[in-house]
């Protein structure tokens, strides 16, 4: 086959991978994973610029291409070193860190990034509100300044890990008299204070994977403001861009994800097979595999420095397939599909799209087309930004306080 430049993107091998490997080797020689205390080890790894190599020197990285991170991770995993448990701080690593890096002050980066990466400080996100879902910019939570302190009040929803979080990314309205996008400001909120109440938000699965957060005169030092006053929308957008790429666009082996359990049940239970279900299974399996290839192609584009808008497509397809496959799986299960495992209110560690029983997967998948940008909003984005079709006529350009709600 051809081996043109883009092929290099195919496996992320770049010249200085070896250099990195030896760096890690030296580091490990200096810090024996066996004898070094966990947190001490992680802080040292951060300070050595081996936390996230694509971050700047002094902030846990050394300004290398992101694609080299996998090399470092492999080495540390192979050496059995302590993990920073990224799964426990997804919003911190996936959304807060890039936002802080892009919009934070040097002092803020200094203060927040290390404990964030080591997992000492879990972050959550206070964006959505009952009245502001797809229309995030319409949010009502107010923040009022008095000297060097802001006082915030309002209700936020859909905040995962709020009950474990030390800090939150908060967008609040600081000026109701200007158009909605212009009156927002972005903060890092200390969650451990009296003005912050976290209540579990129960989903249709019976679990409470998310929270409602009620702010009542919560205090924020102006030093924790991220970006200028009134710049909250711009900062939020960069946060959300990071969110969108993170949903549905991950590397998976063939028959990974939702199709795995459906295919397994099909193979293990010949008695459940029917012609109608077979036709659906073949379509779903093929679509799932093609979606996997599309995700791989997307990552090859990124690695080759040809980023495309296909990320939104990945999330749309991810949601559709998760829903159709889990719907199929419950029907395939027949009598078993009519049962559930447990309705009692639980607080899971994180979202688990593919776990528990078919009924759970069926119900949880309904959220995939809502969370992280509804499928309707994604279609708007594709139509307007990718296809260049006319935008919806806007009727919400006046002062926020005058808009119908």
């Amino acid at each position: 086959m051809l081996s043109d430049k883009t092929d290099q993107g195919g496996n992320g091998q770049l010249p200085d991978a070896d250099a990195l490997r030896s760096q890690v080797a030296e580091f490990l020689a200096a810090h024996d994973p066996g004898s070094t205390e966990r947190l001490e080890f992680l802080r040292a790894r951060f300070d050595a610029g081996l936390a996230w190599v694509h971050y700047p020197a002094g902030l846990g990285g050394q300004g290398l291409p992101r694609s080299l991170q996998v090399v470092v991770d492999r080495e540390f995993t192979a050496a059995g070193t302590p993990s920073n448990h990224p799964e426990r701080n997804g919003i911190g690593l996936g959304m807060a860190a890039p936002t802080i890096l892009a919009h934070g002050t040097p002092e803020q980066k200094e203060r927040w990034l290390r404990p964030l990466w080591t997992g000492e400080e879990i972050w959550c996100q206070l964006f959505s509100e009952p009245g502001a879902g797809s229309d995030l910019a319409g949010l009502s939570t107010r923040a009022v300044r008095d000297g060097d302190t802001w006082t915030a009040s309002g209700q936020k929803v859909w905040t995962s890990s709020a009950h474990m979080a030390k800090r939150a990314l908060l967008v609040a309205r600081t000026n109701p008299d200007v158009p909605k996008h212009e009156g927002l400001t972005y903060f890092a909120l200390d969650m451990k204070q009296p003005g912050v109440e976290v209540r579990p938000l129960r989903q249709i699965t019976g679990e409470a994977e998310f929270n409602e957060v009620f702010l009542t005169d919560a205090q924020i030092p102006d030093a924790d403001r991220i970006g200028d006053v009134g710049q909250g929308w711009t900062v939020s957008m960069s946060t959300l861009m990071n969110e969108r790429v993170s949903i549905g666009g991950n590397a998976m082996p063939r028959e990974g994800g939702m199709i795995a359990s459906a295919a397994r049940t099909w193979r293990e239970h010949p008695e459940l097979r029917t012609p109608g279900l077979y036709d659906r299974l073949l379509k779903l399996w093929a679509d799932a595999e093609v979606a996997r290839l599309a995700g791989a192609r997307l990552r090859q584009q990124l690695a080759a420095g040809q980023p495309g808008p296909e990320g939104s497509a990945a999330k749309l397809v991810f949601a559709r397939l998760n829903q159709e496959i889990s719907e199929f799986e419950v029907e395939l299960a027949g009598g078993e599909g009519l049962l559930y495992d447990d309705w009692t209110l639980r607080r899971p560690e994180g979202a688990n799209f593919f776990g528990r029983n078919p009924g759970f997967r069926f119900l949880r998948a309904k959220g995939n087309s809502i969370e992280g940008g509804t499928s309707e909003i994604l279609r708007n984005i594709i139509a307007e930004r990718v296809l260049g079709l006319p935008k919806e006529a806007r009727v919400d350009t006046g002062p926020w306080k005058d808009l119908p709600r």
Partner: protein, 423 residues
């Protein structure tokens, strides 16, 4: 822009950046017969390149330029109502001057020594214009058969564009089982002293056979054989068929005691036919991809211009969402088509069969959907003869049947993906 977040599910992987495609199975370099076979099982996994390379991009530009100049839709439409539905002039330029006829042929035989990755890109451009040339039938299917058969006599002529060939198997044949031949071997069954044979029979529903000067004819003789026939020989008759897609008109071929040379026999002949049909289906998927993209592009452009209710039709959200969904389908189809092209370039084997099945299924559905949306979203004008939309609809429908329907290709997942059918 966010209703809820579930980043935990994904952030851990998101921090890594795995850019490889973990192919479960992997392909064998040697052509296998019908069915997935197992020859490739043991070989190490490879990483498919799903992008377009520079050489492919350059080739695309050359072909697109030529077609824009030589195959505007009004000419393509007009030609469908003539007695000469294949554009020989355009084909000669494309085959000889641009070198599309020899893409798959090694330089040692006068070809370009390129691969199915480039052939697929040419197919995309031909799909975008539904240009009436026998690229698929001659430069892909017949060529693949001759390559697999180890031919050296005809390939140089094909590479130079001097000869156009066609594999005498109905376009509607699937890729999974060996199509029954309707041609018989006349005495002497073992060929005469000069090693020549005589063929008699009728094969109908052939694509790209009208412009062919050489026919590659499979015969269910003992052993199964692949025979080459020069159309100039006495006893060869061709009849054009009124086809749904007149930009790739089908025909019927009659052979009466026609002189033929055997180019492969037994398993070799069977493998040659299997490889040719699989390669054809895989490249056809890229043609469908190009067709779908063109339908999407043309429709997006139209709804931006077309005003109703004093607004561009493309500003109505229901239309926007449908076009967004279509664009999503195209992104999926492209990944599948590139995966098939890349695996075909690597040879034949189970993963190649899988890749072609996925691509033909995805691209058949997407192309048909795109052509139908093109007509619907153009409103009345798209339903008229004097508009290109119907050319795409007819090509899309014919392509969705040619070389195995989406259903047929998905059905092969029973073995390829171990998804057994119900009893």
């Amino acid at each position: 822009m966010t209703e809820a977040t579930a980043s935990e599910a994904t952030a851990s992987e998101a921090t890594a950046s795995n850019t490889t495609v973990n192919d479960a199975a992997s392909g064998g370099a040697a052509a296998t017969g019908f069915g997935p076979g197992a020859s490739g099982r043991g070989r190490p996994a490879r990483t498919a390149n799903l992008l377009y390379g520079e050489t492919e991009t350059e080739l695309r530009a050359a072909v697109r330029g030529l077609l824009a100049d030589k195959a505007p839709w009004r000419d393509v439409l007009a030609r469908t109502e003539t007695g000469q539905t294949c554009d020989d002039g355009l084909w000669h330029t494309l085959a000889a001057e641009v070198g599309c006829a020899g893409l798959l042929i090694p330089e040692s035989l006068g070809g370009a020594g390129a691969s199915y990755r480039e052939a697929a890109v040419v197919a995309e451009e031909l799909g975008r214009t539904v240009a009436p040339v026998p690229f698929l039938g001659s430069a892909v299917i017949a060529t693949a058969a001759l390559l697999a058969a180890g031919d050296t006599e005809f390939l140089p002529e094909l590479a130079s564009g001097a000869v156009t060939a066609s594999l005498a198997i109905p376009f509607a044949a699937g890729t999974r089982t060996r199509p029954e031949s309707t041609v018989r071997l006349d005495a002497p069954q073992r060929g005469d002293e000069r090693g020549e044979y005589r063929l008699t029979g009728t094969i109908t529903g052939l694509a790209d056979a009208l412009p062919a000067s050489v026919l590659i004819v499979p015969v269910d003789s003992v052993p199964y054989g692949l025979y080459a026939v020069r159309v100039s020989e006495p006893g060869v008759g061709k009849r054009p068929l009124v086809s749904l897609d007149m930009t790739r008109q089908l025909s019927e071929v009659r052979l009466e005691q026609v002189l033929a040379r055997r180019i492969a026999a037994g398993p070799a002949a069977e493998q040659a036919v299997a490889a040719a049909l699989l390669a054809g289906a895989g490249v056809l998927a890229s043609e469908q991809l190009g067709l779908a993209e063109q339908c999407l592009d043309a429709t997006v452009a139209y709804v931006k211009e077309r005003h109703q209710f004093a607004r561009p039709v493309g500003g109505f959200q229901a239309i926007k969402h449908r076009l967004a969904d279509l664009w999503v389908s195209v992104t999926q189809a492209r990944a599948a088509a590139r995966y098939a092209a890349d695996w075909l370039a690597a040879g034949f084997g189970p993963e190649t069969t899988m890749a072609v099945a996925l691509a033909k299924a995805a691209c058949s559905d997407t192309a048909l959907k795109a052509a139908q949306e093109m007509i619907q979203l153009h409103g009345g004008i798209g339903f008229t003869w004097e508009h290109p939309a119907h050319l795409y609809l007819k090509r899309a429908k014919a392509d969705s049947i040619g070389l195995g329907t989406a259903d047929a290709h998905r059905a092969s997942l029973d073995v390829l993906a171990n998804l057994p059918a119900p009893e």
